[in-house]
């Protein structure tokens, strides 16, 4: 078809060669196509300590398989699993095959692809506290470097008990496994210590073996698409940032509620509690993402510098301030959905007199010009009415209520609310008031919704896919840094210290409720109330 007639002009304002380059000046960018190709990663081996554990089976291997399915991993990609259990390579592969087939989400399981992927899976059994396992690992790494061309690149993933982090890192160092022509990185899961002192001790031991730039502290919350979307929302749009300060924002609420109990993790949870398990890491990182200053670039360190600055700006509570600004709760026995539910103290492995909180709420303030005087309310808990994670930005009311004599009972003067939903229905809602159609000036609240899943129907990668790929690619933007870890421990340490001196009248909330009454009172003292998500 003659699309353009001879002599016909092109688009207005375009020259004849727009978008085209002469053949002899083609860019020498290799075989790349940044508009269409995915980010490439170098060949490497991922060494998983704790390879027989739940995290490996449920999250890590399905994520790695999915990355292979999408062709995101380099040819020759290797996984070496290490744990105590005696197994052959083939037995380990079969265990992993079953796990991937079972726990893979939103994807088909392709047996043929698995067979190819499994060729790169190996297994070593041994005690991570013994030098022998590191010698064997060294041999295996040298072998796969030859056979699968991994280039000496290794990502050590510690999916073990936190108490083993430092000994494993030291074992790696002692065996000389940090030295190579390729890169060597280590990924550790939270908790990064159980308080400020232990966090520093852990870090000291890790940094004797690995440079800080090679230590990847994983916080899977930061890998969630919608948490990343907070940055896009704030800094990719021009209209919100001018409002993002104490002048327009009354307060901020961050909620991470779970509708289930400790589900067999009672022994672990008893040592951690809600404040350590969720607030010190995930929720303070989310708060930092919501409140940080814009970074000059989107480079890993520029973004992390701003997050760290925000965390350091959190006002440290005095012991006297803790009772009014932090609430601990523990669920008792009850009924949810017509079924009996055990209280936390009745869970397996939990002390019958346990003082561990399954609910924590706290009020934080950020001492900088942007946020001075704005409360950030954070709450998290087990066996709350629903599973939901969200950030609610409560804007100040209009300065003059011009409709106060006209409005109906359900909307006049209602403050604007911006909801950033992290899960389960990821998205953003803006609530504002609008005139109800018809005679009279009756206002009603309406919601303008952006639903992430509905507006972008493509499959979102899981947090572990994102974070594993980032670690392999050497992008630490979504990983936490030691200064961030220490700053967040400093923020919660006074609460932990104070609570350790108290004897709470637990249990103090019903399963299926929104936590103890004291959490409501904490907000009521400032004239606020928790939003019911």
């Amino acid at each position: 078809m003659p699309l353009l007639r001879t002599g016909q002009a092109g688009l207005p304002g375009t020259s004849a060669n727009v978008g085209l380059m002469p053949l002899d000046s083609a860019p020498n960018a290799g075989l790349q196509d940044p508009l269409r190709f995915h980010r490439t990663t170098q060949p490497c081996a991922v060494v998983i300590f704790g390879a027989n554990g739940d995290l490996t089976r449920r999250k890590l291997m399905p994520a790695l398989y999915r990355l292979a399915f999408e062709g995101r991993l380099a040819p020759g990609f290797v996984v070496i699993g290490i744990s105590r259990t005696r197994m052959s390579d083939d037995e380990f592969r079969e265990h992993m095959r079953q796990s991937v087939a079972k726990y893979l989400e939103d994807s088909p399981f392709d047996e043929e692809l698995w067979k190819s992927f499994a060729q790169g899976i190996f297994y070593l059994s041994g005690d991570v506290m013994s030098a022998a396992v590191y010698e064997a690992l060294g041999e295996k790494l040298r072998a796969v470097e030859q056979s699968r061309h991994t280039g000496g690149n290794v990502l050590f993933y510690l999916s073990t008990q936190p108490s083993q982090y430092a000994p494993i890192a030291e074992g790696i160092g002692t065996a000389g496994l940090t030295k190579s022509d390729g890169w060597r990185r280590i990924v550790i899961e939270k908790p990064f210590g159980h308080d400020l002192v232990s966090a520093r001790q852990l870090n000291d031991r890790l940094q004797k073996v690995f440079d800080e730039s090679s230590i990847y502290r994983i916080d899977h919350y930061l890998g969630k698409e919608t948490v990343q979307n907070i940055l896009a929302f704030r800094f990719g749009n021009g209209i919100f940032e001018p409002l993002w300060n104490r002048r327009y924002i009354e307060h901020v609420q961050i909620t991470a509620a779970e509708s289930i109990g400790v589900e067999g993790r009672g022994a672990y949870y008893q040592e951690a509690g809600a404040l350590r398990d969720m607030v010190q890491n995930h929720l303070l990182q989310v708060m930092a993402t919501v409140a940080m200053e814009p970074s000059a670039t989107f480079s890993a360190d520029a973004v992390r510098d701003e997050r760290a600055k925000l965390l350091r700006a959190i006002r440290i509570m005095t012991p006297e301030e803790v009772p009014a600004n932090a609430v601990s709760g523990q669920y008792g026995p009850g009924r949810v959905g017509g079924e009996d539910v055990s209280g936390f103290r009745q869970e397996k492995g939990v002390d019958a007199e346990s003082q561990t909180g399954t609910f924590a709420a706290a009020t934080f303030f950020v001492e900088n010009w942007r946020w001075a005087g704005v409360p950030f309310y954070i709450r998290t808990g087990k066996l709350l009415p629903k599973r939901v994670s969200e950030i609610a930005i409560h804007f100040r009311s209009a300065p003059l209520e011009v409709f106060r004599n006209d409005v109906g009972s359900n909307g006049g003067g209602a403050p604007n609310l911006l909801i950033l939903r992290i899960q389960p229905e990821e998205g953003i809602s803006l609530k504002f008031v609008s005139k109800r159609p018809g005679a009279g000036m009756t206002l009603r609240p309406v919601s303008m919704d952006f639903n992430y899943g509905a507006s972008f129907g493509e499959r979102s990668p899981s947090a572990y896919e994102t974070l594993l790929l980032d670690a392999i690619a050497g992008d630490a933007t979504l990983y936490t840094r030691q200064d961030m870890v220490e700053a967040s421990w400093k923020a919660v340490q006074p609460i932990l210290d104070y609570w350790s001196t108290q004897r709470f009248a637990f249990p103090n909330y019903e399963p299926g409720s929104w936590g103890p009454v004291a959490a409501d009172e904490m907000l009521a003292r400032r004239g606020h109330a928790w939003r019911r998500p």
């Binding site: 078809m1 699309l3 353009l4 016909q8 196509d33 062709g71 639903n451 507006s455």
Partner: protein, 317 residues
Amino acid sequence: MPAVRPDRILRELSELWTTTAKDDPSDGTGVLRACSMTLTVFVDDEEDSMALGETLAQLMREHPSRVVVVRLKGTQGELDARVFAQCWMPFGHNRQICCEQVEITASLNRLSDLPAIIAPLAAPDVPRVVWFRSPRLATAPDISGVLTLGDKLVVDSARAGAPAFADLRSLAVAGFIVGDLSWARITPLRELTARLLEGRDLTGIKHIVIEHCGTEPGAEAKYLQAWLRTEIPAALVEFEAVDDSGSGFIRGVRIDSDPDIRVSSSCAIYATGTLRQRTNLSEGRDHELLAEELSIMKHDPVYEQALRRMTIWTPHF
């Protein structure tokens, strides 16, 4: 004056939203209207409505749009238009997502009337894309008017009646943003090839064979050849028919290098030296290919370079 007036269509669209909201079967929170672009699709009237509807419905989940489907009939006939909404309720959600669709039926002799009807229908402030799927357009005397309806023009060179590569290049030279689903179809294969050649000395590669089915290479094979010739100028890139039946689609690629690389068996198994692996290469359904093109609303220098290579004869020494 055209018998179909844009004002009337826009009014009907507005009424459609009111009706859809009233009929909403969800919990009364209303329907969510989403629009990220205006997509105008030219199809032949005989094209399977259900198949096209399925493609558009799939596409709308990722690129919610105002869709204008232009059904082209023979040379004689009147203009007609109707509006409707495509709605769906995402799993686990309680609110319908709806996109609006306008369907215009026109004969080829009314083609010149279409720009005046379609241009005002474009949703404001969002990109406009025109997707040519109609072989009938190939017989139209002049379609320059409809070209101006899009910020990006998308074709599929593998389909009957598709414009010649030279025509596509003319459009690109004239400043139009052009996309080709045949080019998008080989993205996974190009990406895999790029990955397999990563870190190698490309000047050492002297010979590449693109295996195809059918007696002649298809549009995808030609694009792949042009891309490889551009990126690896030292290599002789040849075609080889490996199966007489079929439409010329790529069956495999052999790259003589050290070690040799072979991508074969529907491009899903590849071998580098002794290392034999399998990867998932999407077959690329139309909505997926179109989604890839819609994500690039600017000039694509790699594609345009390949297009230029295809339309300039360059001897290989």
